[in-house]
Every structure is written in structure tokens, then in C-alpha cells.
Amino acid sequence: MSIRSEEVMKIAHLARLGIKDEQLSGYASELSNIMQLVEQMNQVDTTEIEPMAHPLDQSQRLRLDVVTENNQRESLQKNAPNVEDGLFLVPRVID
């Protein structure tokens, strides 16, 4: 599997990663090499094999639907780049 620069551009957009144009071909060749390694998986037939999502096949533990966390807005927002009146600020989205 070889990944072209245009595909890198598309994947980077999906992942919201800003990539400079001059880096596209470098990433394309590195990602192609990685996908070549990945494709060694095709050596083995896995029809009928149950996919494994959890090492211990444990299912997600459930808990009662009650509030367990205190409100920590102030301490959590201390790490935010830009806040005002308890709100996270971003560039204007709707004119």
C-alpha cells in the first residue's frame, strides 16, 4: 500500500493536523513504509476469528447514574488558554 501526498493531506484534515506542503511527500513515504509493515498481517487467514478488543475480555463496568464528581470548573479552567466568565473562548464561529 502506498500513500500519496494528496491522501496525506486528506488524512491530516480528518485528524485536524496542520501539515506544511513541503512535508507532505516526506510523510507520504514514511506512512507508506509503515503501511507496508502493517500489511504483513495479510499473511494469516483470520476468517472466523473473533476480534479481540480487551485483553481480559472484560466488559465495561457500569455504575449508578448519580453525580460522583464535584464541580471543579475553576481549577480545571486554570489550564485553559483563554477563558471568560467560566467559558472557554474560541474564534467567532457564527457571524
Binding site: 506512512l31 483470520t46 479481540m52 480487551h54 488558554p81
Partner: protein, 486 residues
Amino acid sequence: MYNQSLKQLSTGLRNKAFSSVELSHYFLQRIKRFDGDLNSVITLNEEAALQSAAQADKSISMGEAGLLTGIPLLHKDIFCTEGLRTSCGSKMLDNFIAPYNATAVEKLAQAGAVMLGKTNMDEFAMGSSNETSFYGGVKNPWNLQTVPGGSSGGSAAAVAARLAPLASGTDTGGSIRQPAAFCGITGIKPTYGRVSRYGMIAFASSLDQGGAMAKSAEDAAIMLQSMSGFDEKDSTSVDRPVDDLLAHLDRPIKGLTIGLPKEFFSDDLDAGIAEKIEQAIDAIKSAGATIKEISLPNINLSVPAYYVVAPAECSANLSRFDGVRFGYRCEEPKDLEDLYKRSRGEGFGDEVKRRIMIGAYVLSAGYYDAYYKKAQQVRRLIQQDFARAFKDVDIIASATAPSVAFAAGEKKDDPVSMYLSDIFTIGVNLAGLPGMSVPCGFVDDKPVGLQLIGNYFEEARLLNVAHQYQQLTDWHLRVPAGYEQE
């Protein structure tokens, strides 16, 4: 002092041969003296450390001390530490002050351990050489031209140089075991779910597991005991009692069967490393264990499957870094999309970006079955191989890594060759088994690690075999040249 075991240090504290403040000061001084070259510690916690040491001294005076009370340690900078920068080795979190403690950090603090600082690591734990850190690479104290391994390279180098008796690590594909091998120390990754992942910054959630790095199996056992256990805050934590790891260390290993996977002992294995591993196995045999050849027929597919599962999970986990709620934000974003793209493009390093893109690619429309589902099926086959092997053997042994520490820069620009340096360790994470690395000699004056793999929740057995091996050998007591002065 620097080479004393945890038990010796703990006895010294109780007998008032020295105080925890003195001990902490001693190791802080070692960090200041030696770490300029190594770059293993990226944040010092001096003032708070001396305060908690003073607190520990009070507990000791009141006769309330456990084995870890007053013992200094370092945490990998992937563990959240309240009030202290937690960077995960990334520009993205260079300004992040964790608002709470990871459960593993909290448990060790409750046990009275004194946190001296945070260790350097590959960015978001993605790397096998510690060269992807935003804070620069870490040097291997055995040879400053070589890497310490990764991603817990800072923790491994610090323990090897005796800058602290203990350090925490995390292991997603070998990140405790491979650096432990490269730096000549003992490191254990327990069974998936044994140590809480709460507050441990997520890379690949179905593989990540915290563990202990120390000079010896005995010290690692004491540390792991304290870190382990069920945690309601981690939905993947396993609700099952923790064995008494210390109590099992002295059990004789006579009658145990050690399996050697033939796939890990092929003709491709470096001859020098093969010789050291064979000598280590002979020593274990001399203690009464039986050796049996086994086969893990699908193990050669573990690196390919891993490079689907880990990037897929990482691309999902790292989507939280959006430049809005915490972490790096680019200058003057022109709109929201520009804010996301430039914050992430500028905040993440190359290797992290590569893995996010691989993850986004394999999960993108139309590719899910061909890659992610396929990898999960291969993962099942690898798990079944191990399950079959553990019907016949108690422990599996191999080399931890296919080479000794390589030169800085050697694999930096070749991701695939870097990935293949985890060829012996990755299968253990895919299966969720416990594994460890124990120093077993030197090739070209560089340490070699013996990997021991156990069945689920057999940490006590693993540490028992490692401890018995360390009763017969002194590789774990060797200190790199230049770091032996008090």
C-alpha cells in the same frame, strides 16, 4: 548509599542512621550533579519533596512507617501530579499543571514515598529511544553516545545512574522493558488492568499499563505492590486482590518450567545477546527449573498488528488536544478550524503526527475491516498462542530487545526500523500479559536484558524467578562508570 536496596534504605531510616530529608537531599544532589549530561529529569520537585520527606520523618518517629515511607522516587512525566507540570514530553502540554494526582502517584504518596521530580520520555510515550521528547533526548549512562531506550527512557537512565532508587514507567509496546534492558535495570509491566490508568495520560487505552522500574526485582516488587489494585476511577481496572509480591520472592523455583519460544531464538538473534540469554537460562536451570522449547507461531505479526491498534487508539485519545480547554494554542487563529489545525500541527512532534495519521487512515471510511478488525483478529491469534504455551510452561523467557542500546540518531529518521526494536516486547501488550526485564550481562560494555513473561496476574511468580536469578548473579548491582562516587 546510592546502591543500597530499598529494604536497606528503609532500615536506615527506621534506625535513624539517616533521615528522609537527608536521603532526599542526597538524591536531589545526585540529580543536580549528574543529570546535566543525561537529561533524564525534566522537572524537579525539590521544595515539595523536602516537605514530604519531613512529614515522612515524623511518621517514622511515631513508628508508623511502611517500607516506602521516606523513600525518594521519580515519576514518568506521563503521570498527572497535582500542582506540578505534567508535560508527557510534549510541547502540547509544556504549560499543563495537573489538577489532580494519578491513582498510582496517589497510592505511592499515601505509602510515604517522596517524589523528587518527573522524568523525561518520548512524546506521549511514542518512541523507543527517548529521542522524540520535546525536551531533547536522554543519554544512556552506560555510554553517552547511545540512547536509553524508550519511552520510559528518563526513568530507566535515572535509576541506572542511581539518581533515585525507584521510578515509575508505562509500557504500551515495551516502554518499561526495553529501556530497562538498555540501561541495565529491572522493570516490570504488570497484567493489563492491574495498575490504575486514572491520571496516566492515555496513548493506546487497550495496551497502556503502568509499572515499576528499580535496581532489583525485590525493590520493583515493593513498588509494584503499592501501585497495584482496583480503582473505581479506571473503568478498565480489574477488581481482584493483589498477591503479596514480597512474600513470594523467596520461594524456591525448583520444578518450574521455563518456555523458550523458538521464534525468539532464531539464527537472526544477535550472537552476543544470544550467549548472554543462554547463560541466564543456565543459571535459572541450575536453581532447579526445567527448560522447554515452545512455539508462538503468530508472534511475527505482533509488530504489524500493533501499528494498527496503537495508532488507531492514539488518534482517538489525542483528539482531546484541541487548543481550547488545555494545552498549547497557536498564535492568532483566524477561525476555529485554523485553531485546531495549527495548535495540533505546532504542538505535536513528528512521530506523534505520524501515528495520529496512521490511526486516522486505518479508521477512515472503508478501511475499518481491512485494518482495525484484522488487527484485532491477529491480536486474538497471538493471545491464543500464549494461552497454548502457558498450558505447558510457567514462565516464558527471551531477550528483551534484539540489540543493545543503539547510537543516538541511528534510527531516528527510519520509523519502521525503530518500531522493530520492540519486536520481542509488543506481543505481551497485545495479549495483556505481565512481563519484565532483568539485567543479565553486557555485550560491548552495554547492558543486555532478559525478558520474563508470565501468565495473567502472575506478577508474583515473575518477580520470584527474577529475584532468585538475582541471588545467583550481580548484574543488577553494577553501576555505570562515573556514577559510583557518593
